[in-house]
């Protein structure tokens, strides 16, 4: 993990504190993200996957300066960006953009599409009057939306159109990084493909760097260059897409990959189901966070948290596959 990234994250911890009731219930602190390192290379699409509640969105929000977070390092193009949103330099707010999960929620219901896409330019004072509208129209064209939707309101659009409006609003500022927080999980499958293809197209044409958060491994495999698998606030495995999907090392990743529906029912393999529910983030298990559900659990797993370390010999075109698992690292439990 020595590559120089456009976006670098070391030791990110995100807290949720509940106040409790004095004398009756003590306040509790939950670390939804507990020590995460991530690096995004320029022009890369990194997939961040994991089940609901594992901290994916919290991590994405922390990158935007939202929420209660701490990090050893949070750098963008070499610049320290640990400051919360309100204290970030305006230029930074232009260069990193966020695409929300629910586009209907992310758009003001009472403003027209054109107004909302042009608004970021107004906010940043980047263009005036007619030029602002022209650039907003260009952004809408970039996401394959026609001129007929300019005067419409969000509730008059389809789900896919809305999400493309949200993406257009982010693109109008010509950002370098796009953080997409489950951008397609609220959309129909047919529309998902449109949006995913659009994101890939944007990367190819503009060299946009994208953090793509999803719980759909099929989509991630289709779109991303690299993937990081998250479980209960930590990254358990990361690596380039194809090798990682071909040969997942972490038992959690193995279970996730095995759960991807095959393209044909005859190709279906017996499912290795995970037993049990993920533990509550408020009281994570000691040692490896996955150990209560892990089929390979050993004594060391119960006490010692495994570090995310590169797998020797698992390097592909300069991208390293890394895993946080005692057993997998010893090379004893590589299945099949």
């Amino acid at each position: 993990m020595t590559e120089v990234g456009l976006l670098e994250l070391r030791g990110l911890r995100c807290r949720f504190a509940s106040r409790g009731i004095p004398l009756i219930a003590p306040g509790t602190t939950v670390h939804a993200v507990d020590g995460v390192d991530l690096t995004l290379a320029p022009g890369e699409i990194l997939g961040l996957v994991g089940e609901s509640g594992c901290g994916k969105s919290t991590l994405a929000k922390a990158l935007m300066g939202l929420g209660d977070y701490q990090a050893e390092t949070m750098r963008f193009a070499g610049q320290d960006i640990r400051a919360p949103l309100d204290r970030r330099p305006r230029d930074l707010l232009r260069r990193i953009q966020y695409v929300f999960q629910d586009p209907l929620d992310a758009l003001d219901p009472r403003r027209s599409v054109l107004y909302q896409v042009a608004e970021p330019l107004l906010i940043h004072g980047l263009a005036s009057g007619a030029e602002r509208e022209a650039r907003a129209r260009a952004a809408l064209r970039d996401v394959n939306l026609g001129a007929d939707i300019e005067v419409k309101f969000p509730h008059q659009l389809s789900g896919g159109q809305r999400q493309r409006v949200v993406i257009a609003r982010a693109l109008v500022l010509a950002p370098e990084v796009l953080i997409c927080d489950e951008p397609v999980s609220a959309l129909d499958v047919s529309i998902q493909a449109q949006v995913v293809n659009l994101l890939r197209d944007l990367r190819d044409r503009r060299g946009l760097t994208i953090l793509f958060i999803s719980h759909d491994l099929g989509l991630v495999r289709h779109l991303c260059d690299r993937v990081a698998v998250m479980y209960l606030g930590r990254i358990c495995e990361t690596g380039p897409i194809e090798p990682l999907f071909e040969r997942p090392r972490h038992p959690y990743t193995q279970a996730l990959v095995a759960a991807i529906p095959p393209p044909h029912p005859r190709l279906r393999k017996p499912l290795k189901r995970l037993i049990g529910e993920p533990p509550r983030p408020g009281s994570p298990p000691p040692g490896c966070r996955f150990h209560p559900r892990c089929p390979l659990c050993e004594a060391a797993c119960r006490t010692e948290p495994p570090a995310l370390l590169p797998i020797v010999g698992a390097q592909h075109d300069g991208a390293q596959q890394s895993v946080a698992c005692h057993v997998a690292r010893r090379g004893e439990a590589l299945p099949c």
Binding site: L93, R94, F100, D102, D105, D108, P109, R110, I123, L173
Partner: protein
């Protein structure tokens, strides 16, 4: 304008009435047959035209000093509407701003605003208004200011709650991540989204402000003679309710119809302003 064709009759009538009242208020000097203070001692307590003894000189009759009730109503509409509208607008602006402040800064600012809301809500406002008018002396500016302070806490409570909810919504967070200033987020985006609630509250507050003006004028601390207002007319007409009911009833009917019309219009406006209800 095709939309206007589908308007319910009540809304159309309300619109016509409100427009008529606004016209009356603006054109009072030209349409009133007499000055509101003009006295006609030979025609005191004349009944309205449709009663025996009525005369076309005074279509709605005269009061105990022979002042023309119609002319006085015309001038009263001007005074009452101006005072109530100004008061309602001041109250809405004050309450909305304080609600936004509380939602934006939270912490002690929120505590302070909430405390002020509770304080205001617990206060018998009429007595506060009486005290202010008694100690500071009666002037139109002070009277309008009191009308403005009346009811601000309801706007503040509504706006604070809705702003708290709205600023947690995606669009407000999205605007912040885009670098929008608080003023932009609150006034250009959250305000239009909660405007319907404010407008509904204004339509509720408006008649109450008219009634407050009535009460204060009735108690002699509102609009002072020789100026006239609808409340002040009802107040003075009270003494003749049995013998010359028209002095009080005519302005009372105007109060009733006007406040009802404003409420109906406000209701319609709320639906009209909501794009989700408007239909595409």
């Amino acid at each position: 304008m095709a939309r206007l064709a589908g308007l319910p009759l009540s809304v159309r009538l309300s619109g016509v009435w409100v427009l008529a009242m606004l016209a009356v208020a603006i054109l009072a000097d030209w349409i009133a047959p007499y000055d509101y203070a003009a006295i006609d001692l030979r025609n005191r307590l004349t009944p309205p035209i449709w009663m025996t003894g009525g005369t076309w000189l005074h279509p709605l009759g005269t009061d105990d000093l022979g002042r023309d009730v119609l002319s006085r109503i015309i001038y009263s509409v001007r005074t009452s509407l101006a005072v109530a509208l100004l008061g309602t607008i001041i109250g809405a602006a004050l309450g909305t701003s304080l609600g936004f402040l509380a939602a934006r800064f939270r912490g002690w600012v929120d505590d302070l605003v909430t405390m002020a809301i509770d304080f205001q809500a617990a206060l018998p406002f009429l007595i506060l208004a009486l005290a202010a008018l008694a100690f500071l002396g009666n002037s139109l500016v002070l009277f309008v200011a009191i009308m403005g302070v009346y009811g601000w806490e309801r706007y503040a409570r509504i706006v604070r709650g809705m702003a708290f909810a709205a600023q947690a919504q995606g669009y407000a967070i999205a605007l912040r991540t885009l670098g929008a200033s608080s003023a932009r987020v609150y006034f250009a985006h959250i305000l239009p989204n909660i405007a319907s609630a404010i407008i509904v509250n204004m339509t509720l507050n408006f008649p109450e402000t008219v009634l407050l003006e009535t009460s204060l004028s009735f108690l002699g601390l509102g609009i002072q003679p020789p100026m006239t207002s609808l409340g002040n007319m009802v107040g003075f007409g009270r003494d003749y309710l049995l013998s010359a009911w028209w002095i009080a009833v005519c302005p009372a009917v105007v109060i009733f119809v006007t406040t009802l019309a404003f409420s109906l219009l406000g209701d319609w406006l709320r639906d009209y302003l909501d794009p989700a209800l408007r239909g595409s």
